[in-house]
């Protein structure tokens, strides 16, 4: 963590007001990628995002093209591997690598939207609960308890049974599953901020309650929300994989990581790679999000700002 260049750079101390144009975003960003694990994590995630945006350019083959003469081919580095099929093929002879790359689409799409949904609902509920307190707080807390007590898989099965499996439904259900945790994190942060004097000061100039919540409290708890969201994305990826594995997620032939594990399960004695490789992909991406979330939390820690 030692940064001699920052500690000895006295120009910061001499002209604080002149330093303002250097954005906080760049400051935080530079701190986030300070360590090697964080750099690698960021690289993995950038790769995932590129794959999800332009899978056609990255994937070596058509992820949907079947070649029954090349079924269950193991990865290229094993003895029976076929050159050009780097990670082997599945039971229908489709290229595993291309399917993994195509699968990032669903993974990124679903997890980002689901976190957005749960973030929007959760932040709004948490702000209201923490700021208004009293009955509002009690009602929202009970709703959180109810939601958390209800088994998620059961809820998803029920919803899918009623409205049918689709991408939109999946996003909505997953988003709703995440809001209580968001609300709790936000509520806790609001409670620590709302009694600070600048909130009273904002009231004393006649600011409305909505204004105080959105303009004064929300920016102060933003770093907690950002950090929590990064962990929540990882959780959503896992949840989407779980649901796809159970057949409740996005339906075939669209490749998803969870679905690929599920497909490969039947052939695991003949080809371990089909299930293992998407599993490794899930583990890597989640690990990357968690590492990055950790360094984000450190970078956004206001205690670190003090020395600048």
């Amino acid at each position: 963590m030692a940064q001699p260049n920052e500690l000895t750079d006295t120009s910061r101390l001499l002209t604080p007001a002149d330093e303002i144009p250097i954005s906080r975003f760049r400051l935080v960003a530079s701190r986030v990628i300070e360590s090697w694990p964080a750099k690698i994590s960021l690289a993995i995630l950038v790769l995932v995002v590129i794959c999800s945006l332009v899978p056609g350019l990255v994937a070596p083959r058509d992820p949907f093209a079947q070649d029954l003469s090349l079924r269950l081919v193991p990865p290229a580095w094993s003895e029976r591997g076929v050159p050009g099929y780097w990670l082997g093929t599945d039971q229908l002879g489709r290229d595993t690598l291309s399917r993994i790359i195509e699968g990032t689409r669903i993974t990124v799409l679903v997890s980002l939207f689901a976190v957005s949904v749960s973030g929007l609902v959760g932040v709004a509920a948490g702000l209201a609960a923490g700021f208004y307190g009293g009955k509002t707080d009690a009602i929202i807390l009970r709703l959180i308890d109810i939601q958390l007590a209800f088994p998620l898989i059961l809820l998803v099965i029920a919803v899918v049974a009623v409205v049918g499996p689709s991408l939109t439904n999946l996003i909505i259900v997953m988003g709703l599953s995440g809001w209580p945790r968001f609300a709790r994190v936000v509520r806790g942060s609001v409670l620590t901020v709302r009694h600070l004097e600048f909130v009273d000061a904002a009231r004393s100039i006649g600011a409305s309650r909505v204004r105080i919540m959105s303009q004064h409290i929300l920016p102060n708890i933003m770093s907690a929300i950002i950090v929590y969201a990064s962990f929540e994305i990882a959780r959503m990826i896992l949840l989407e994989a779980t649901l796809s594995f159970l057949g409740l997620g996005v339906q075939p032939p669209t490749p998803t990581w969870g679905g690929m594990i599920s497909d490969g399960r039947k052939y695991i004695s003949q080809s371990w790679a089909i299930s293992l490789i998407p599993g490794v992909a899930i583990a890597l991406v989640i690990l990357a999000f968690n590492v990055l979330g950790d360094s984000l939390r450190d970078a956004l820690d206001p205690q670190l700002d003090e020395r600048l």
Partner: protein, 353 residues
């Protein structure tokens, strides 16, 4: 802008008591806090008047209700425990603040009456530039173009004595010292040119040299803007420096009200005398002695005793003090009988003693 005449006509039942010269007239204000089953009578019948351009000081020890008085005037009593249960807060051109809805109070706060808090280190929002925060005080009440607002903010920064206001406009609170931050708070309070500014211990958190600067600044701004000032403090040095008139508060009531000279020269209430005796004297050759203390504790405001609230701690207590609470009025007995000073003590009011 739309407040004054419109709201008066909307509530014709509210009589306008104020003369042209009186900016604020507080009458028998009672603000209670409901804590569990207990009722804490934090402000229990307080009356005073502030005229245009005047500084009124409220002094008293912690928990005597002086801050609660200010919060009650601003409509900022802690929710849901605090409530104004009686009395009137007449503000010139606006009417009775105690009768206003929260929405109406929002329009009044910052515009007609504003407040400076004790702790400049936490009173500014740490995530916004100070220019933005002063501008917000203007934008909440007026719709004016960005550039014009910015100009006004820079003028305000200049007015409160912040050097190079153009650069400081972009500074964050943590880049300023405590004194500078308090100047920013004062700029926010005065941004809409209110008639009245409340300052709740504005210098308590600052070191002594900065205190003097801030007090000088407030005196200058008062003269320049014509605003009246209600200054709440426990520091009699600040009182001597700033006030024209002084109210001494004890246990939720005003126990003595007088011009600043009279308070220091001829304190009448035993509590005021105790307060003055507990100031260290810097006079050369003065006898070295232990500082005076007022014995005992402030009574529990949820369970006030019968009679005078100071009776348990008073060196001159006698029978009537424990039976009947004295009113706040001009002394009728003793050497100062008939003076303009007002006191809440039987020693100066009771002919039968």
């Amino acid at each position: 802008m739309i407040l004054g005449p419109k709201m008066n006509s909307a509530s014709p039942a509210t009589p306008v008591l104020l003369s042209d010269e009186d900016v604020l007239q507080v009458e028998d204000l009672k603000a209670h806090l409901h804590v569990g089953n207990a009722v804490v009578r934090a402000v229990d019948g307080v009356s005073f008047t502030i005229s245009r351009g005047e500084t009124l000081c409220i002094v008293g020890e912690s928990g005597c209700g002086k801050s609660m008085t200010a919060l009650a005037i601003m409509g900022l009593l802690p929710k849901p425990a605090g409530r104004i249960v009686g009395g009137r807060v007449m503000l010139q051109g606006v009417g009775d603040l105690a009768q206003r809805t929260p929405r109406q109070m929002r329009e009044i706060r910052g515009q007609s009456v504003s407040m400076v808090f004790q702790e400049p280190m936490t009173s500014l929002n740490p995530v916004f530039r100070i220019g933005w925060q002063i501008e917000e005080a203007i934008r909440v009440h007026e719709r004016i173009p960005q550039a014009q607002a910015r100009e006004r903010v820079i003028a305000m920064l200049d007015l409160v004595g912040i050097p190079s206001p153009h650069e400081r406009y972009k500074a964050y609170p943590h880049q300023l010292s405590g004194g500078m931050r308090q100047r920013v708070m004062i700029a926010i309070a005065l941004a809409c040119r209110p008639k009245l500014m409340l300052a709740d211990e504005p210098t308590t958190a600052l070191d002594v040299t900065i205190q003097a600067q801030i007090l000088r600044l407030m005196n200058r701004l008062k003269a320049e803007t014509g605003a009246s000032l209600l200054l709440i403090t426990h520091d009699l040095g600040v009182v001597a420096r700033m006030a024209k008139r002084v109210c001494v508060m004890y246990a939720g009531v005003i126990v003595e009200e007088a011009d600043v000279g009279a308070i220091f020269a001829t304190p009448l209430h035993p509590y005021t005398q105790g307060l003055l005796d507990s100031i260290p004297s810097a006079r050369a050759g003065g006898e070295r002695r232990r500082l005076h203390t007022v014995p005992g504790l402030v009574p529990n405001l949820a369970k006030l005793p019968q009679g005078c609230r100071f009776a348990d701690r008073c060196p001159h207590v006698y029978g009537r003090c424990r039976e009947e609470e004295p009113p706040l009025s001009q002394p009728t007995v003793g050497p100062l009988a008939g003076s303009a000073q007002k006191v809440r003590c039987w020693l100066h009011l009771d002919h039968r003693q």
